[in-house]
Structures are given as C-alpha cells and as structure tokens.
C-alpha cells in the first residue's frame, strides 16, 4: 500500500514527541493541536469558516465536527472559499477564516491570499501540512506553503509544536486586524495537529509585539501644517481610498469636507465612503474615472489623499499626476509615503484620528472658493458618461442603472468580478455607504464576485446581496453554484454577457489595431440561466430592455437560493472615459472616435 509508509512515519512522529512529566500537569487541560485550533478560533469569536476538507487537515475537521459554535461552509473549490472569507471580512470588519488541506488545497488558496493582500483584507487561512518528518521529501500533497505565501501575506507561520498553536492563533488574529490589515497563513503539519500538550489559561490579553507598531501616534504638527496649507489652497481636492472604510472614518471625513466645502474624488476601493449623491462627490478617479474627478485632480493646487496607496490605476503617468498640486498623503502604513508619489505633507496615522484632528484645526476658518466649484460644474456638463440610448439593444450601463434603482435601499451589497462589468458597476451604481461595493481592486481577480457574494450574504444575512459579473468572470468560479444551492444562500447574480473577455478586447480594439486575439468566448459558453437551473438555482435570461426590470425584480425576490439573471448586452460596448496606459489622467478619451 502506497500509504502505509507515510502512516508508519506519522505514528512514529507522534510517539517521538516528548511527553511532559505527569507531575507537571498541575494546571491546564490536555489536548491535541487540532482541538487547540478549534478552541482558539472559538476563543476569538469565529462564527463561520469557509473551506474544503482533505487528508492533511482531517484531525482539525474532526474537532470542528464537535463544535456547535462554528458554522462551516464547504465550497466547491478552495478559491471560492477564500474569496468568500475575504468578502466576509470586508463586510463584518472581523477576520475571515479559511480551512484547506496541504499541497493542492493550499496552492488553490494562493490567488485569494494575494487578492486579500493587495486589498488589505484580514483573512486567516489554516492549511494542513504533511507530518514534520515528511517535510522536505516531496511527500504526497506536500508544498512549501510558508515559502509560497511569503510575498503575499502580512505574516505567516509553519507551526512545529502543538503547544505553539494557542499563541499562534492569538498572534494571527491580532496581526490580521491591527494597523494596516492583511492576510495571515498558518501551516499546520498533521503530527502537530495530532500531538498532545497542556493548554494553559494564560496571556489571553492582547499580545504586544516587539518591533510591531499597531497604531502609529499621529504627529499633531504634521496635521497642523496640512490644515494651514489646505486653508491656503485655491483649488483643493480630496482623494479617498479604501482606508476610509477600514478606519470607519466616513463621518470624520464628511465633517472636514462639509466644513471646507471640498470636492471629493474616490478610488475604486473608496466608493461608497462618500454618498455618490452628495454634492461634494465628483466621481471615481483614474483609468476609468469620471471626467470631473480626473480634471479636478489635474488642475488642483492641493491634493489631500486619504487611505489610498495611489497605485498606477489611480495615478496614470506618475509624472503627470496632480502636476500643479502640493500633495498631502494620509496613511496608516509609513511605507506608502513616497512609494509612488513623494508627498509634500506626509501624515502617518489612522484616518479617523487624523481627520478628527484636522477638522478641529480647520473649523470656522474658511471654505472653498465658488470659482473652483464653478469650474468643476462645467466639467460635469462637458464630460457626461450617460450612454447613448438605443432601444434595439440592451446596454450594460443601463442594466447597472436599473439594478441600482431597484436596490435603492441603502443596504444592498454589490460584489463584482474584474473587467468591463466591474467598471460599469463602479461608474453607474449609486453607492451610498462604505463597504457596499466588495470588489477585487489591487489584484484584479476575475471570478471574485460570485464567491464574494456568498461570503457577503453569510456576513450580513439581512441585507440583499447582488453580484454584478461578466460571462468570463462568472465562469471562473461558476462551480460555487453548488455551495450557494446547498447552503440556500439567497444572492442574485447579474451577468453582463457580451461573449468576450471585454476589457482585453477593448484594449485590442484601441491599442492593437483591432486584432481580436483569443478574446471572443461566446462559442462554447452555455446558457448560464439553464446551467443555474441545472444546479438547482433560479435562472433567467433577458436580451431586451423591455424584459429587464421584471427579470431583475423576479431574481431579487427569489429567496430560496441563488438566482442568476443572464443579460445579453450589446457586445461591442466599451468602457469610457478611459485613460490610455502611460498617458496623463486628464487626457482621457470619451469614446472610440476619440482614440
């Protein structure tokens, strides 16, 4: 038997572990590493785990089966589990937890770990590993998880002793949520799961780390300098990112914005932190940002960037980013200062704290000139993104607008995949509150939206959840229909089906002389509504604007599991405005004729 050698070594490994002297067992409780994992998660208040069982993580699942405090949701692919946990973390603000087995199980998580890393999401993955004596021998289902996850985690662990489990779990939860949040991977060899030790009831208080600064103290002088310069500015603009939602600083932000009558632009990740209907909101910035937002930043004399890392999709050509402005950069991560843009006023700290102090400093001291606002208003008139009406075809922008109208209840959570549909959702859905849009911003992971909707619904069972996705993105994690049907998760998936990997096709049309290489995928793609029905969900197809409203409403009303509305939209539609790669943001194009 192929397995018998492994099993023998495993037994030896477990036996070899030195047992503590009996007389030392005065306090504490004897338990295994696996039991300690489940107990540690209960101690942290974990309610839901997403994952898939496998050989090397069986002892932990065996213990999980005995817990009545934790719900486990088995997904169909590990990528589905980690995207769901990622969304769960973003919606609740608490860490999302994932279980996976060694080797392929852990490797399948990696896209999701990277996704969480890029968007600073606190996801903690527990992976089974081959027993310690087998590590390094290319054993069955062995992969170096710690090494693999190094570049894409805030921190990671390979636990070598069962007695290290409780401390590792406490550390992981502390690290994942504090400061700038991020994903943690904990790799647990099978013999560590099965090995016994004494759980001692101590050090439950928050862990202090040497050299790990959780919350940098805000330098008041920095904020005072920023306040003085903000008051002197004639053409100020605020640019917000996902950090506002992470810090829960939306009220503090609005206090400053309303006090000084400042225009606010947002990155993709920051959408919703300012109500998109608020008169101060001027739109999304960057590659597919609004005309007014990109123009205002280009012309501004002071840019206040808060909770954004100013990545390349925001800045376009860095040399031409806010070329006339002094830049103030507020971020909790000191390494973001000067990584891409050298700020004139760097402020390190939690956005909520900084904005509170900033408000105190500027209160009653002035407001933005009418003239600057008039200028911005004129850009709104000039660069409208309302798609031309055409009754003969279903426009993807129109689908998003109708969806936005039908779900206008300040509660609906919208998730997306990546590509054209993501940008249409960002541009045309009216986001009104933070963490309403759950999207893959940094990594740009196609297939994120559907499992993220599952995670969001589990995190907020009372809120409606809609995934806006494309035919390409949906099919990357279509297998999670099984999960949604089995767990009776009432989510609605709106597919903007255009028969192509649309964003890449758009680039081919604009920058590769219209050579459409490998981007047309309609041939072979089945009826996604029928596929949904086969899985046991509700599937609806719609190809004309007439049927759109009732179809969406029908799907939104369905509460027995997943519903999918497959919208056959105008295939040739592209996303505008668009800033060509390498160009200055203000040189956006508004359509094909403009290119």
């Amino acid at each position: 038997m192929a397995n018998s050698k492994n099993q023998d070594e495993l037994n030896t490994a477990t036996k070899k572990r030195p047992k503590k002297e009996e007389d030392e067992l005065t306090e504490g409780e004897k338990m295994t590493g696996a039991r300690a994992v489940v107990r540690g998660l209960e101690e942290q208040g974990v309610e839901v785990i997403f994952g898939i069982i496998g050989g090397a993580i069986m002892p932990i699942y065996d213990e999980l089966g005995k817990s009545d405090k934790i719900r486990h949701i088995t997904t169909t692919h590990e990528q589905g589990a980690i995207h769901a946990a990622d969304a769960y973390a973003r919606v609740t603000g608490k860490p999302g937890v994932v279980f996976a087995t060694s080797g392929p199980g852990a490797a399948n998580l990696m896209t999701g770990v990277a996704n969480a890393y890029m968007d600073s999401s606190p996801v903690i993955s527990f992976t089974g590993q081959v027993a310690t004596p087998l590590i390094g021998q290319d054993s069955f289902q062995e992969v170096d998880v710690r090494g693999m996850s190094d570049p894409i985690t805030k921190h990671n662990y390979l636990v070598m002793n069962p007695e290290d489990v409780p401390e590792t779990i406490r550390e992981s939860f502390h690290l994942a949520q504090s400061g700038r949040p991020g994903p943690i991977v904990v790799d647990l060899p099978k013999d560590v799961q099965m090995g016994e030790f004494i759980w001692e009831e101590d050090s439950q208080d928050e862990k202090e780390f040497e050299g790990y600064e959780v919350d940098p103290e805000v330098n008041e002088q920095d904020v005072e300098d920023l306040a003085d310069n903000l008051l002197l500015a004639e053409r100020p603009v605020v640019l917000i990112g996902g950090g506002i939602a992470q810090a829960g600083a939306e009220t503090e932000l609005m206090n400053v914005v309303e006090e000084l009558e400042l225009p606010v632009a947002s990155s993709l990740m920051g959408l919703g932190c300012v109500n998109s209907r608020d008169p101060h909101f001027i739109g999304m910035v960057g590659m597919h940002g609004s005309g007014p937002a990109n123009k205002a930043i280009a012309k501004s004399d002071l840019l206040l960037a808060v909770g954004t890392r100013l990545d390349d999709r925001i800045t376009g050509n860095v040399e031409d980013f806010a070329p006339n402005a002094e830049i103030a950069h507020v971020d909790i991560d000191p390494a973001e200062m000067g990584k891409i843009v050298q700020p004139d006023f760097p402020v390190i700290g939690d956005a909520k704290e900084v904005l509170t102090y900033l408000h105190e400093q500027v209160e009653g001291r002035g407001r933005t000139e009418e003239e600057w606002w008039n200028k911005i208003e004129s850009w709104f008139e000039k660069y409208s993104i309302d798609a031309k009406k055409d009754d003969s075809v279903l426009k993807p922008q129109e689908v998003v607008r109708v969806l936005s109208e039908l779900t206008d209840n300040n509660e609906t959570i919208v998730t997306t995949g990546v590509g054209q549909h993501q940008m249409w959702a960002a541009q045309h859905y009216e986001f009104t509150h933070p963490n309403q849009l759950i999207t893959s911003g940094g990594l740009g992971t196609m297939g994120f939206g559907f499992p993220a909707a599952i995670g969001s619904q589990v995190a907020a069972p009372d809120k409606p959840v809609v995934a806006v996705t494309g035919d390409g993105s949906f099919q990357m994690n279509i297998q999670e229909l099984t999960t949604a049907v089995r767990e009776k998760i009432p989510i609605t998936v709106v597919i903007l089906r255009n028969g192509s990997l649309g964003m890449v096709r758009q680039w081919q049309q604009l920058f590769f002389d219209n050579r459409l290489v490998e981007t047309l995928i309609d041939e072979g793609t089945p009826s996604l509504a029928k596929v949904t029905e086969a899985y046991g969900g509700k599937g609806i197809s719609v190809a004309e604007e007439e049927g759109l409203r009732p179809a969406l409403q029908d799907a939104l009303n369905y509460d027995r599991g997943p519903s999918v509305v497959e919208c056959f939209v105008a295939e040739e539609e592209n996303v505008f405005p668009m800033v060509p790669a390498g160009a200055a943001n203000e040189n956006f194009i508004l359509g094909e004729d403009d290119a």
Binding site: P151, G211, G582
Partner: protein, 182 residues
C-alpha cells in the same frame, strides 16, 4: 539597434550610492528567506548581506549594504520595518560606524614566491591561514576597500578561489561631535 518605445518611459537611472543598514530580527527559521525575498521582489539592489546570532539567541543581527539613492533607501528601511519579525532597523549612512569584511583568498604559490605573498599579506595585516604545496590561503579582515586592494595585488600570483563574508556593520559606541542625537 532599435529602441522600443517603453525604454523612454523607464525611470531615470538612480545614483548608486552604498548605504549600510543594521537590523535586529527574530532568530527564527524563515526570517532570512522572507527578507531576501522582499529585496528581490521589490527590486532593491543589495550589495551585501550578512547574518549572525546576537548575545541573546532569540535575535539575529543583519548587516545590509543597499545600493541606490535616498528614496530607495527610505523604502528599504520602511519595508523592513513593516516585517513582523524585524525588531528595528537603523540606517548608518550618516552615523559613525565600524565596517568589516573577512575574505579567504586561495593564491597560487610556489616555493619561490611564497615569501613574497606572505610579506604582502603582512603589509595588509592579513594572516596566512593555510599553506600547501601549490597554494596559500590568505585571511584578510578590514574595510571592503582594504580587502579589495589586497585582492588586486594577489591577482598577480593567480587567485584560485575566494570566499567573502560580506560586510558586517555596527554603530560606534561614541558618537561624533557633529552627529545628531537619535
């Protein structure tokens, strides 16, 4: 040769100054690979890296020589500080510090020129660590400049093999008078 268009958009070449850094890190498995991985993936140019346990076995001291301009150095320090296992990082560029490197140089030596090599080593206060029929191994310690100067001179006799530790750096106990307090 054709120059492709992306060359124009490449960032300007940066001045390549060497900056000594010293970092205190947790003495755990995986720390070194995490840090060297960090340097590689962020494109930091590392001239030399040396690690050793401190008097407290829970910690190691890492000496890093970074090549690049001030902004690069700034990012290296910040990214290192972000690592959970890094306790502290100190940039010694503007601080008075001691810098040493050890080099083992295996040189071709016959009975005729052996004494000449030994004499040369003496001038550099290097030691002869081993003598064989056809080779001697010279052990040189000092600043990188000094070790390199000796290497250049020994090249004449033919160097068979060479092993270098990389530079180790430590801040001086006494600060210079013009040095700012920390």
């Amino acid at each position: 040769m054709r120059t492709s268009s992306w060359v124009k958009t490449m960032p300007k070449p940066k001045e390549n100054q060497l900056h000594p850094l010293t970092a205190l890190v947790k003495n755990k498995s995986g720390v070194l690979s995490r840090l060297s991985g960090l340097f590689a993936r962020r494109g930091f140019n590392i001239d030399s890296l040396a690690v050793g346990e401190t008097t407290d076995p829970r910690y190691s001291r890492i000496s890093i020589i970074v090549k690049g301009d001030r902004e690069t150095l700034d990012q290296v320090v910040k990214q290192l500080n972000k690592q959970v296992d890094v306790i502290s990082v100190k940039d010694l560029s503007d601080r008075s510090h001691v810098e040493r490197e050890l080099s083992l140089i295996k040189v071709h030596a016959s009975t005729e020129n052996r004494s000449e090599i030994i004499e040369l080593a003496d001038i550099f206060r290097a030691k002869v660590a081993d003598v064989g029929k056809d080779f001697v191994i010279v052990e040189a310690t000092g600043s990188a400049d000094k070790v390199e100067a000796l290497e250049d001179l020994l090249e004449e006799f033919g160097i068979e093999e060479i092993a270098r530790t990389g530079r180790v750096v430590l801040e001086r106990a006494e600060k210079r008078k013009d040095e700012k307090p920390e």
